[in-house]
Symmetry: C3
Subunit: 427 residues, 3 copies
C-alpha cells in the first residue's frame, strides 16, 4: 500500500512546474555542448579520482571533450552504486534515449554522439527547460557581474558574497569592487557605500537573494566602523592581518551585507559549514570538505539583530539538520533550504525531510534546489528529491497520520514550489 | 504484514494504565478551563509566531481567552503539517467530539464553546485522567513549593533545582531559600544544610526525583567548601562573579544535590543541552534553543562519583542519543529517559527508540514522559509515542528478529510503564 | 515485496565465504573451550553489570567457568532485548542445537554441557571456521608479538600500535620495544629504526595492516626529529612530560608509522574516537566510552601527506559517519571500514550502510569485520550485518532505483568480501 500511495503522490508532484532557487548556471551558456560538460561535473571527476583515476588524466591541458569522457568512463563501474551516477544515467535516458543501465566502454561513444547531436540543435536549452518543467532558474553571480545580456526573469540573479567577506584582503577583490562600484573603499564608511551600490545594481536587475557559503567556525558579530577602520588601513597598506583582525573584517563586511538585505528586502541565503581546500591535491571543485562540529548557536546574534531579513539556511552536515529544524521552528526569520552537497543523497534527504515536515511550519520550508552548473541536472536531481518527498508524505502523513492523498500532495506542492515563490518574491 | 503486527502491538499497549514521570502540571489547576489553556501551550504560540503572528498579538495584556484562540487559529494552516498541531486535533477529537481534520475560521468557535462546556463540568479533571488512563502524574516543583493542598500520591512532587544551581547569585533565589528552610545560607556549610532541608521536605511529601535542566557546556566537577566560601561571600556582598567563579558555585551546588540524592535515595533527572533565551524576542517559553555540541563525557566525573544515584538522562539533541545509549549500556547508574522537547517528534523518537531497544538493557529505559503543562496533553503525546514504539517493535523485533508479538508487547510494557514504577519507586 | 527481495539477496550473500579483516582472535586458542569464554565477552559482562550485577560477582578471583555463566544467566532477562544477546542465542542455536528463545535458569546448564562437549571435540576450531564460512581471520597483534606457531595465511597478522603511540612514556613499553628489536631507542633516529624493524618483522610474517585506535581529540601533525629529541631525553630520564610534549611525542611516533606504512605498502587502519577508562569501576574491557565531538578534519594533514597509504577508517560515533562518507568520496586514500563497537547495532549499521552505498565508490567500502575475541562470534555478527545489508540493497537499490536483484547481489558481494581481498592484499 505504501508503494502505491507514494506513486500516486509522485505522479501529481511530477506535474508541477519548478523554480530552481539555487544554481551555478551561466546564463550565457546554460545547457551543455558535449557530454564532457555533463561528465565534467565535479561529482564525476572527484568520485572517479577518489576511485583511482589520476588528476593529471582528468585535468590534462588541452584534453579534448570526447577523450575526457572516455577516460572517465573507465572508472564508472566503481561509481555504479552512487546516486550521483544515477543522475547521469537518468540524464542519458531522459534526454538522449539511452536504453542501457550502465555507461560502458562498449556503449559510451554512441551515447556521446547522440548527446552531441541533440545539444547541437538550435533550441537545446529550451528543450531542456521544457522537459525539466523549469520556469525559473536562480543564479549565483559574482558581486561584479554586469548582469547584462540575459533574461533576468528566466535566469534570476543572486548576489554571491564569499569573495567580499573572506577574500577582501586580496587586492584583486578590492580592485574588482572598485571597478564595479566606482568607489575606492578605504575605510568602513566607503566600504559600506560600495556594498550598497552592489545591492542597488543587483536589485535593479531583479536579484532575489544575497548568498554566501560559510566555514564551520564562523560566528557573525557586529563590529564597529571604528574598530574596522585601522584594520582596513593595514589591508590597504599591504600588511598581513592577524587571525582576529581578519575575522573582525569578515564580520564587519558580513554584518553590512545583512544590513543591506534589510534595507533592500532581500533574503540572505546562508550555506553553513564548508571548509575550503581540505584535499589540496583534489580535482577542480573536489577539494572542499567540512568539520561537522558547528552550531546555529553561532548565529544567535545575527538572527536576533535582523528580524526583518529572511535567512534561508542550508547546512552541509546532516547532523546539523535538527538544529536547523529547531531554529526554524522558533525564529520567524529562519527558514530551511534544500539539501546541500554532501547532504544531497536520499539517505540524508529522507531524514531531513521527515524532521522538517513534522516540526517546521509548512510555509517556512524551501524543499529543494539543484545547485547545478549545467541545465541538464535539474531533471534527475529534482526527480530524486520528489521521490524521497513522496515516500515521506506517503509513510508519515497518509499512512501514519491518516491524511488524504490530496492533502499530502498539497503539502508537497507547498515545499516544492509554493514557498519558493512566496519567500523569494516569485515570478 | 508490518502494518498488521504494528496494529496488534499497539492495541495491547493502548490498554496499559500510565504513569507520566515528568510534567509541569499545576496540581491545583491540572486541567484546562478554556481552549486558550490548550492553545496557549508554547508549541502553538511559538510556532504561530514563527509563522508570522506578531508576539504583541499573542501576548497582548488583558487578551480574552476566546480572542486569543481566534488569533492563533488564523495561523493554524501554516502549522497544519506539524506533529504538534496533530496533538491539538487529537485532543479536540478525543475529548470534544470534533469531527473535522482541521481547525479553521469556520469551525473554531463551535469547538471553543464545546470545550468550554466540557471543561466546566465538575469532574473534568477526573474525566481527563480516566480517558487518558493516567494513574500518576509527576510534577516539577519549585524548591520552595509548600507541596500542600493536593494528593501527592496522584500528583507526585519532584524537586526542580535550576534556580539553585544557575540563579543562586540572584538575591530573590537566596531569599526564597532562606524563607523555605529557615537557614541563612552564608557559607558552604549552611548552604548545604539548607539544601538538605529541601530534600527532607520533599521526600516527606512523597517526592520521587530531583531534576534539573542543564546548558550544553556545563560539566559538573567537585568543588571544595574552602573554594566556594569566598565566592559565596562575594555573592552576599553583591559583587559580580567572574565566569569561573559562577561556574564553581554552580558546580558546588550541583554536586551537593547529587550528594543529597545519594543520601535520600532519589533519582536525579538530568535534562541536558538547553541554552536559555537564545531568541530574546520570542514568545513566553519560546525563546530557548541549543548548541548540539555537547557530550556526556562532561559527566564522567559525576557518574563515577555517585554509583548509588540513578541518573535518568534526557538529551535535547537527537545527535546526543547514541552517547546516551552507550553511557546507559556501560554505567549502571545511567538510564535513558524519554524524548525531550525538540527531540519529541516521531522522526527522532523512532531513531532513538530503535537504538535504545537494540543496545540498552530493557530495565534501564524510561520510554516516555509528556512534559505537559495541562492534563489534556498526555493523551495525544503518549499516543504518538505508542505508535512509534509499536512500529519499532513490529519491524525490529517481530519481523527482523522473529519475536512473537507477545514478547514484543511485554518489552513495550516494560519501557512504557514497568520501568517508571521500578526506577522512581512506583505506586 | 520488499521482504521477498531482501530474502532473495540474503540467500545469495549467505553463500559467500568470508575474510574477517579485524578481530582480536588469539591464534593459539582461537575457539572457545567453555560457554564462559563466550559469555565472558565484554558485551555480556558489561551489560549484565550495567543491569545491576556487581563487578565483584563477575570478576571474582578463581571463579569457575560454569559458576560464572550461572551468575550471568541471572541477568540475561534484562538484556533480552539487546542485539548482543541475540548473537549469543544465535551461537547457541547454530552451534549447539539450542531450541529455545531464551537462556534461562531452567535451561542454561544443559546448554553449558552441550557446548562443553562440542568444544571438546578435536576439530572444534575447524568446525567453527567451516560453519561460519571463514577463509581468513585477521588478528590484532602486539608490536612485540613473535608471530610464531600459527598459520599466518589463515590467521593474518596486523601490527597494533596503540602502546607505541600513547604509552611510550611507560618504561614497560620501551623495554618491550628494545627486546623485540634489539634497538635501544634513545632518540628520534633510533626510535624510527626500531619501528622500522617492527614493520620488517611483521611484513615478513604476512602482516596485512598496521592498526591503531585513537581518542576523539587526537589530531596528527608532523613533528621534527629535532623537536622530539629533547622530549625523548626527558622520557628516558624519567621526567614527567607536559600535555603538549606528550602529544608531540605521540604525533612523532604516529607519523613515523604512517611513513613506514608508505614504505612497506601496508594499509593503516584508523579506529577513531575512543576515550579509555571513562567508567573507572567498570568490568574488564567495559570501561571505555567516547565524546562524539570529533572530526576527520583533524586528519587533513595526514590524508594529504600520505597519498600512497590506504587508510581504512572506522568511526566510533554514528554521528561521524557522514564525515567518513564524505572524506572517502573525496580522498582517494580514505576508505570506509565496518561498524565499530558502539555503532555495531542494526539501527546504526542501517543508516551507515545506506549513506555509504549511495555516495562512496563501491570499491572503497569494507563492509564489515567482527572485532571478535572468540571464533564463534563471526557467525552471528556477520549474519546481523548481512541482514541489514540485504535490507538496504532491497529497499534502496532494487525497489527505489529499479536494479535487478543480481546487480544488487554483486554490489553486496563487493563490499562484503571482494574489497577486503583487494584492499588488504587478499588470499
Amino acid at each position: 500500500m505504501s508503494q502505491q500511495v507514494k506513486q500516486n503522490i509522485l505522479a501529481e508532484l511530477e506535474q508541477l512546474p519548478l523554480i530552481d532557487p539555487h544554481t551555478h548556471i551561466n546564463p550565457h551558456s546554460a545547457a551543455s555542448t558535449t557530454l564532457a560538460d555533463i561528465m565534467g561535473y565535479h561529482y564525476y571527476t572527484e568520485l572517479a579520482h577518489s576511485a583511482g583515476l589520476p588528476k593529471s588524466q582528468i585535468e590534462e591541458e588541452g584534453l579534448a571533450p570526447k577523450e575526457k569522457v572516455g577516460r572517465l568512463v573507465e572508472k564508472l563501474d566503481d561509481l555504479d552504486n552512487t546516486v550521483q551516477l544515477s543522475w547521469l544515467i537518468e540524464i542519458a535516458q531522459e534526454f538522449f534515449g539511452f536504453q542501457d543501465d550502465k555507461i560502458t566502454l562498449a556503449n559510451w561513444e554512441s551515447l556521446y554522439d547522440t548527446a552531441l547531436s541533440k545539444m547541437n540543435e538550435d533550441n537545446w536549452e529550451q528543450q531542456v527547460l521544457k522537459q525539466s518543467k523549469l520556469e525559473q532558474v536562480y543564479l549565483t553571480n559574482d558581486f561584479d557581474d554586469p548582469l547584462a545580456g540575459f533574461d533576468t526573469n528566466l535566469y534570476v540573479p543572486c548576489l554571491r558574497t564569499d569573495d567580499l567577506v573572506f577574500h577582501y584582503t586580496k587586492s584583486a577583490t578590492r580592485d574588482r569592487l572598485a571597478k564595479a562600484t566606482g568607489v575606492d573603499a578605504g575605510d568602513a564608511g566607503s566600504l559600506k557605500d560600495a556594498i550598497g551600490k552592489l545591492f542597488s545594481h543587483f536589485t535593479k536587475n531583479n536579484a532575489r537573494a544575497c548568498a554566501i557559503s560559510l566555514p564551520p567556525m564562523f560566528s557573525p558579530q557586529q563590529v564597529s566602523a571604528a574598530a574596522v577602520d585601522p584594520i582596513l588601513k593595514k589591508v590597504i597598506s599591504g600588511s598581513e592581518l592577524s587571525c582576529d583582525e581578519a575575522n573582525q573584517l569578515s564580520c564587519f563586511i558580513f554584518w553590512s551585507l545583512a544590513e543591506f538585505c534589510a534595507e533592500f528586502k532581500l533574503p540572505f541565503d546562508l550555506m553553513i559549514g564548508v571548509n575550503r581546500r581540505v584535499y589540496e591535491d583534489g580535482v577542480f571543485q573536489g577539494q572542499d570538505l567540512y568539520d561537522s562540529r558547528t552550531s546555529l548557536f553561532q548565529y544567535k546574534e545575527l538572527f536576533n539583530a535582523f528580524p526583518t531579513v529572511t535567512f534561508p539556511v542550508s547546512v552541509l552536515a546532516q547532523t546539523s539538520n535538527q538544529e536547523l529544524v529547531s531554529y526554524s521552528w522558533i525564529f520567524p526569520n529562519v527558514v530551511t533550504n534544500g539539501h546541500w552537497w554532501y547532504s544531497n543523497i536520499p539517505a540524508h534527504i529522507e531524514q531531513d525531510t521527515r524532521a522538517r515536515l513534522q516540526a517546521v511550519p509548512q510555509s517556512k520550508q524551501i524543499g529543494y534546489y539543484s545547485d547545478m552548473y549545467k541545465l541538464e541536472f535539474a531533471l534527475p536531481k529534482f526527480a530524486m528529491y520528489r521521490r524521497v518527498l513522496s515516500k515521506v508524505l506517503a509513510n508519515d502523513f497518509v499512512i501514519d497520520r491518516g491524511w488524504s492523498e490530496e492533502r499530502a500532495i498539497n503539502l508537497g506542492k507547498t515545499v516544492l514550489r509554493g514557498n519558493v515563490e512566496r519567500i523569494f518574491g516569485g515570478l
